[in-house]
Symmetry: C2
Subunit: 693 residues, 2 copies
């Protein structure tokens, strides 16, 4: 659906315009105060002649030209009839503030469905209902329902939010400048995903900032993410509902370990979407990216402080947030040493002392020298933005930053204050003008910086998406034998195996397999074979094998009387190694996710797993493995021989490709354990859950 008439209208009607507090009055007041496009604005009210000195029409039908956008400020029951009128004036967009739709339960849901249906038929893009409207600062259209302070808000952040209150929070944040802000409300026939896509495409938008509660168009969302990743346009996203438990009852470890929160986070990571943990962080990161003229080329920062104590605080924070410290080249270090008193030491974080910090020209020289150092990717000034009362330190530092920021080749500069409440508006404005992002304080600031730096070095590796095309319903678990056969059929190497319905068949099969071997019950109905006495290991001769066959069948007959027993599964004992788990979970929104982790209790207690979207590149697979806390176990732990990590990565890629191409078939898969040895990998057990339809 084209959103141009909605978001960049040439002509606008406010339906229900008046001069009293409330949607109609406040919207009219806002529009008149903040919009450029006043000539083609038409106020509509059935009983008024004039509002705020402007002529009022009885009906939109009386307006002398076509109307691109109608802002409907009236109540729910008026909306549908008004929509018909709007269509007659060739409106392409309407904003509906009224509540009383899907947010009020079943009845409201029906009303909303009616609205969607009719809007679709009429070809009208509806923002809302139950929204707060939007403002397009470049088109000069301010169609927002809540009053805000008078201030120029034009800038390069594009914001969309399912909550109007959060848009208001953004508009009230002095540091932020916007291209467009959108309160999407109940998301009728235009979804958050559509607005996101619009903002990613929008040339006036440099940074996209989004608050999302739920996902309704995952494929489109991923396509938008891909577009943004390709042009490296940052998306800063706050997604709630992460704490909600996954509704899907998972049969596999992988299923239970890839809840909605982990899946969403993996998708974000895949496309370099910057995830914020709260509103302050979302606003802070978006603002920083908005002010910043270019991204740093690496993550090695020089931290400049003017107090030993504060440098100490910063040192702990850089360690806590794993911010790499630049190591000055010997020449730069020597030069900086000449600028500080005898007792000063050039460290990173660097206590510049009064020698540099209280003196604009010296600080300019120091910053230029640091910027020229090839071991430095960016600078961070760490100083509280206090009002300028006791001396000129802050003035000197802001001045110095402003001067050097004009240099063509100056590397990016960030500013991290220690205490927020003292923030001085003038200094903040000067830094904004200089393109020096003023980050939030301490932990917040460092966390924001960490995310910005990760985005700065993010390299997008494009692979085909793998979201299933249809929603699958029932599912059915496969036996270990079937699961392994499925892997085998899809080119994944599995150890030899055989099934035997009778003792004799078992004895016969061993001729091919050899001893020692294991006997496990063969039944698609039994998933936890040990729990019902369905496993015998390390069998070394025929007597043992026969005994095992009988015992296993007996045990399962008794302990799982409902299960259909198909015999036993015979497999040679594998050389054990490091016990890993590889799994697949086909997320209902984002399709197959692949998981890798250390097996056994590691997976369950420490949840030391990595999750990513399938398919994987080899590089991504290696990165997943190396990100495990338990990764050192693979690298030759305590003098043992290093395991074949390459083989593990290859298997991971292979499974991820199988998961992607089998996305309409595989619901869940656990390969658990897979043994990793110095020689390679060996799959010891597998559990596949397939879609039934």
């Amino acid at each position: 659906m084209n959103l141009d008439k909605l978001l960049k209208p040439r002509s606008v009607a406010i339906i229900g315009a008046n001069d009293k507090p409330g949607f109609g009055g406040d919207t009219t007041k806002n529009y008149l105060k903040f919009s450029r496009n006043q000539e083609h604005l038409y106020l509509i009210h059935p009983k008024k002649e004039e509002v705020f000195g402007k002529k009022v029409y009885r009906s939109i039908l009386d307006v002398p030209e076509d109307v691109d956008l109608a802002i409907i400020c009236t109540s729910q029951k008026t909306v549908l009839p008004l929509l018909e009128d709007c269509a007659k004036k060739k409106a392409g967009g309407v904003v509906v503030f009224a509540s009383g739709y899907s947010e009020v339960g079943a009845e409201g849901k029906i009303l909303q469905e009616e609205l969607v249906k009719r809007a679709d038929e009429l070809g009208i893009a509806v923002m809302g209902p139950n929204c707060a409207g939007f403002a397009n600062f470049n088109a000069g259209v301010f169609a927002f329902a809540f009053l805000v302070e008078e201030r120029d808000r034009k800038g390069n952040i594009g914001m969309v939010s399912q909550s109007g209150q959060i848009v208001l929070g953004g508009l009230d944040t002095r540091a932020m400048g916007f291209s467009t802000v959108i309160s999407s409300g109940n998301s009728c026939n235009v979804k958050v995903e559509d607005y996101l896509d619009y903002l990613v495409e929008d040339e006036d938008t440099k940074v996209v900032c989004a608050y999302m509660e739920g996902v309704t168009k995952p494929s489109q969302l991923v396509e938008t993410f891909r577009k943004a990743a390709k042009k490296k346009k940052p998306i800063v996203m706050l997604k709630t509902g992460k704490s909600a438990k996954s509704q899907q009852l998972a049969a596999s470890h992988t299923g239970s370990l890839s809840g909605a929160d982990r899946v969403v986070r993996s998708v974000f990571k895949r496309y370099g979407v910057i995830e914020a943990e709260d509103l302050e962080e979302m606003m802070g990161i978006a603002t920083a990216l908005s002010w910043l003229r270019r991204l740093p080329e690496g993550q090695r920062l020089a931290y400049l402080c003017v107090s030993g104590g504060e440098a100490g605080v910063m040192a702990d924070l850089t360690e806590q947030y794993q911010l790499p410290l630049a190591e000055y080249s010997p020449e730069v270090k020597a030069y900086l040493q000449t600028l500080v008193p005898d007792y000063g030491t050039v460290n990173n974080p660097f206590d510049m002392t009064a020698g540099i910090g209280y003196n604009t020209p010296v600080m300019v020289d120091a910053m230029r020298a640091i910027s020229r150092d090839e071991n430095v990717d960016a600078l961070a000034i760490c100083y509280t933005i206090t009002p300028q009362v006791w001396d000129d330190t802050i003035t000197h530092m802001v001045e110095a930053a402003s001067i050097v920021s004009k240099d063509e080749d100056m590397k990016p500069i960030f500013w991290i204050p220690y205490i927020e409440h003292t923030r001085d508006v003038e200094s903040a404005d000067a830094l904004k003008a200089a393109g020096v992002p003023l980050l939030p304080t301490g932990c917040y600031g460092c966390n924001a910086l960490r995310k910005i730096l990760d985005f700065a070095v993010f390299e997008f590796e494009d692979t085909e998406g793998a979201i299933p095309e249809r929603l699958h319903k029932g599912s059915v678990g496969c036996s270990e034998y079937e699961s392994l056969c499925y892997l085998d059929a899809h080119g994944v190497a599995i150890p030899p195996q055989a099934v035997a319905a009778t003792e004799e068949e078992a004895v016969e099969a061993v001729k091919r397999l050899g001893y020692p071997l294991s006997v496990k019950i063969h039944s698609a109905d039994i998933q936890h074979k040990s729990d019902v006495g369905g496993v015998r290991l390390n069998l070394r001769d025929e007597a043992g094998l026969r005994d095992a066959f009988r015992t296993v069948m007996d045990n399962c007959g008794k302990n799982a009387p409902q299960a259909r027993l198909e015999g036993v599964l015979l497999k040679p004992m594998l050389k054990t190694g490091v016990e890993m788990i590889i799994g697949v979970n086909n997320d209902k929104d984002f399709g197959p996710m692949i998981m890798v982790g250390m097996g056994g209790v590691f997976v369950e207690l420490f949840k030391d797993v990595q999750l990513a979207c399938a398919p994987l590149t080899r590089k991504q697979a290696i990165r997943m493995i190396d990100s495990l806390k338990s990764a050192p176990l693979l690298d030759g732990y305590r003098g043992s021989e290093p395991c074949n990590k390459e083989a593990l990565a290859e298997l991971l890629v292979k499974i991820s490709e199988m998961a992607a191409s089998g996305r309409e078939e595989i619901r869940e898969l656990d390969i658990n354990p897979v043994f990793v040895t110095p020689e390679g990998v060996a799959i010891a057990d597998a559990l596949l859950v397939k879609y039934e339809d």
Copy 2:
């Protein structure tokens, strides 16, 4: 040393007083502007008659009365002679701003030692050198060297900081009110610990706020913590240098896992000291505790929001920061439901909607009902403190909070905003007046709240401290046999064992021990016995034993030619169970710390250990064990029988008592592994490192 003359002087001299920018001028200006005690203030300058209209004396010796406190604003070389003059006027305290002491290296260190020596002889408490001074708002003495905005700063926070810049940051933070602020500088003959103790004792101080870089008087510090814990006076502490690696080369796992940061954190935890991660958090928590009229009695909060979106953000944050959510009683829930529109739902976090949030009397009723609910311990209003532009929501909410805060029995109320930059000063002041702490935003706010709530329910269990009385130097490792004998001698049950110097002795010893058993090299010089082929397990008969004896002696002779081999250690094979580690590390500052964790790779890769000060109470031991991520392994994991956690806790208590009483003897101890089974505990190996002197 008594600090009364220093911090609560009846008469004060400013030496070097003048009217130009700099220490002398700024201090004089500050003193005249902010101090009450003007009558007994004497300005001293050798060449001036009058400064700011006030008479100037040529020398402190000319002052007509005795002087309690001299503020020395002059340079380093003048300090010692002035100290003599001050003594003649019976001064009990001096403040020295001058730098050029221990912070500038070896020469300065000598100057500082001279200063300390002379000050001690003269009985003068010296603040600084290289400090920014102090202000005692209750005594009305403002002896601070940096200019600050004109504002009333009197309050109940006592602050001490090794960094003057950080004190300035506090003074510049509008929300904070102080009893006393102290910049301790280089800490001469009065240490940070002394000031801390003063503030904990000070009746005008309700909350102690401290920035510390290093500890020089650990025993006194711990005594101060104990005092504070007993009267439940909060200490909010920011301690830097946590990222510095422990200098001590550790022989044991416990040693390497109890670095300075973990030790300090454990000491803080022991005494309920609230640790802040950065300045913003330190200021935020101290401010909240300062505003709060009483602590909540529990942690179950009702979170009140006015937006579905923001309630969603809050829900995720409460989960992330493990903030328990109150569950309304049915009556309160039903009542609240009557206050919101049909579509509103009473959840926690609760979107109050306009029905409550935009209406003071309704909000007052709602808050009173919530406060009366026995399932609720406190309330938190979650709303950004925006300027009051678009409607009166913020006014209504601040008003409602102010009204109910006057109720005798109102439970504590907190306020958490979402976005900081918009903070409205008037609303903030109103909340301060109402005793409703305005916390930092989002993550910061929740983290601060988490720590405040932990402090609120902290119950101090006093046990005797165990810091060694003297510094020990060398240390010597014991063999496994000696280590186990040490435990045995101190009442810790160990399995049977024997040492054998010859094969025949070994065969003889087995008569007592029985098979199966293990043979390990017996040598104090070999700590990693497996690495040199010094271990044979599961020996079941004499032939095996003899062979093992020879192999082990042979291997070690070859692989550790320098080691003195005393024979072998024989021990029956233990029934294995859950493999744990218990350890002791005698911290050079804080004495014996006890550690418990899951053994093997858990300890090394996941660092899943808990550390605490020895000795432990049984309750503390249980809490440590339960805090391990791997604790479920002890509780009967995957259908296995639960282990005897009681026995493990008893052993932990026993070892902690041994560590406390043996604090002049034990440097490090690893008991690794100790097997925990359903029946009890069994120590399989131990490594003791004793002090040499």
